[in-house]
């Protein structure tokens, strides 16, 4: 069986345009607080979620919008939730980190790693029901260091739970590189706990789809949990307004605000010896350097561009599809901003 690239591309593009609309609302000040977008992980979400069916469950992290869209949740309700409206998906009470959809057995959390136990619990209920339903848990590589997630891998392993753990690995844990924060590779950890890991390029929707298909089939048939590690690049960094991305985009503007206090602290009497201070400065500069060379700046990492290239041969059909989705998202945005009907 082959993935239907047209359908997957439609899911991805819809997610992207939707999140760009969310970004605009946030920048316009219509959405308060933080905003974590999933731009850059659309291939992972589409490749996995498009294969779920009624009765399957999802445990989402703080970037759950795309998964809800692919699952078929009303985009207007999601937008209205972010606007804090009473007619939003959760009555305006949850916001983007706490999106719930009961009919889809889908729960989100802003607590890093919480998708682990939630996915395991949904899978336990599915196992109990015995109807072949599965649960999927989405989390980042930073969450791999959270105790509750590691414990959940073990729990799913010993209880043989029908769950697919999906690690969206972008190499970053908030503002620190994961490699400096993780003692071993995520896949090796899963293997160590008895769960077979599968590595895929999370920018390639077909690759994700194939791997997810096998993992979901395995769970449905009582084969137990799987661990899917999909590498990706978050185009907006950890969240909108992300300091490291701002440095990458406008190094001189952002660094000028940081430089003066840094220099003052570096030269301040009292404190570490020169060697220690130099080591500290090196660490800060290394972070800035790695930000400037960040993969987020490379458009080749955009999963949507990647998928689109394969469809270019049928330019007419592609244009029709893209125009349709653009209209659809535009209409959803317009509808979301309409005054609530009493």
């Amino acid at each position: 069986m082959q993935p239907d690239l047209w359908t997957l591309y439609a899911h991805m593009l819809r997610s992207r345009l939707f999140e760009e609309a969310v970004s605009k609302l946030w920048h316009d000040g219509l959405v308060s607080g933080e905003m974590h977008l999933g731009t850059g992980e659309e291939a992972i979400v589409a490749g996995v979620v498009s294969q779920l069916r009624d009765g399957d469950a999802m445990a989402l992290d703080h970037r759950g919008t795309a998964a809800l869209l692919v699952r078929g949740v009303d985009p207007v309700a999601i937008l209205r939730e972010m606007l804090g409206r009473p007619d939003g998906l959760c009555g305006g009470m949850g916001g983007h980190m706490h999106l719930y959809s009961r009919p889809d057995l889908t729960a989100s959390s802003g607590i890093v790693g919480a998708a682990g136990p939630t996915a395991a619990g949904f899978a336990l209920a599915a196992q109990h029901a015995g109807a072949g339903a599965v649960a999927v848990g989405f989390f980042g590589d930073g969450a791999m260091n959270q105790g509750m997630l590691m414990e959940s891998l073990n729990l799913a392993s010993v209880w043989n739970l029908p769950v697919v753990f999906v690690c969206k690995d972008d190499g970053w844990a908030i503002t620190t590189r994961s490699e400096g924060m993780s003692g071993a590779d995520p896949s090796e950890r899963a293997r160590g706990l008895g769960i077979p890991p599968v590595e895929v390029d999370g920018r390639d929707v077909s690759e994700v789809w194939e791997a997810a298909r096998a993992a979901i089939a395995r769970a449905r048939s009582g084969g137990g949990p799987s661990f899917l590690r999909a590498r990706c690049v978050h185009l907006e960094g950890h969240f909108l307004g992300f300091q490291l991305k701002k440095i990458a985009d406008e190094p001189f503007k952002e660094m000028s605000g940081m430089a003066l206090p840094l220099t003052r602290s570096l030269l301040r009497r009292g404190g570490g010896a020169l060697r220690e201070r130099t080591a500290g400065l090196k660490e800060v500069l290394a972070a800035v350097r790695s930000t400037l060379r960040d993969a987020r700046r490379d458009e080749a990492n955009d999963p949507i561009r990647h998928a689109r290239e394969a469809l270019l041969a049928e330019a007419g059909r592609l244009k029709e599809l893209e125009d349709g989705i653009e209209r659809e998202v535009g209409d959803a945005l317009e509808a979301a901003l309409e005054e609530a009907t009493p």
Binding site: W26, G84, M93, M97, K246, R268, A279
Partner: protein, 336 residues
Amino acid sequence: MRTSFFTQAVDDALAQAMGEDPDIVVFGEDVPLLRRNLLVRFGPARVRGAPISESAFLGAGVAAAMAGLRPVVELYMVDFLGVCMDALLNHAAKVETFSGGRWSAPVVVRAPCSGGYGDGGQHGQSLWGWLAHIPGLSVVVPSTPADAGGLMLAALRHDGPVVFLEPKLLSETWLEFLGSGGRKTVDYDVPADGAKGSVPDRWEPIPFGRAALRRHGGDVTIVGVGVGVHRAIEAAHALEAEGISADVLDLRTVAPLDRTAVEASVARTGRLLVVDEDYEAFGLSGELSALVLEAGLPCRYGRVCTRTTIPFARHLEDETLPNAERIRAGVRKLMG
């Protein structure tokens, strides 16, 4: 004297203490970025980033404190203590008793707290009552830059575990990081006197358990911490026009609680209104009612607190958290 922002004051007092005590170390998630000014002055051995493993690094902070370090363990938000509560509840808070008073864990847990910037109910809680409930923990909630620095210094010298909470609405860095993200299009109700103010040139510790009387009045005692203090002052100003004068008492530390200051004020006014951004049930507000009852003070009592999970929607959040309007209504009710 000079002026300082809130978090700048905490960092400055911390830097002063680190210059004097080489055993003070700082760690937590994103610390290399958030505390980069400390990193370049004290080096990576004393200022280090941690994986997203709160139960491990907070638990390690407790034991490191037992072994002689003075760790300042940073959590992203007090809400995330839920992930690692065991380290505080069953270890840090118990060491002194379990060792028969022979050992303690002088760890400082530094965490942003409270809401008012629309980040939802998992990222805007206050939780100081929940923490102060546990014997053995000190819980600090400053309301001004001067207090924030002085109390941080006291926390670093305290011989036991301290939870040091920074209201995000007062913190220039946290509000920028989590609330605005650099946007000019959002506007939060930031109490100006709490966000920026004069601070001493050289920090001195402000002792725990000593409340500050922010405003003198004779008719009613309004007690609070953090942003609640500023909301109370705002309400007290407005009440003046109605001929009502209010004491506003800033507890500064929830544990230990300055019982004497509360009793003295309530003995004069005969009316107590508690303003508490933490949850209403089984918390600071109830504790203060017990305090006046135990002291045998005749007193009319009311409270303006957070009753429910904090809604994401901004207008609902503003109604849920204590605001000046609710405080005024609460006072009027006591005057009737």
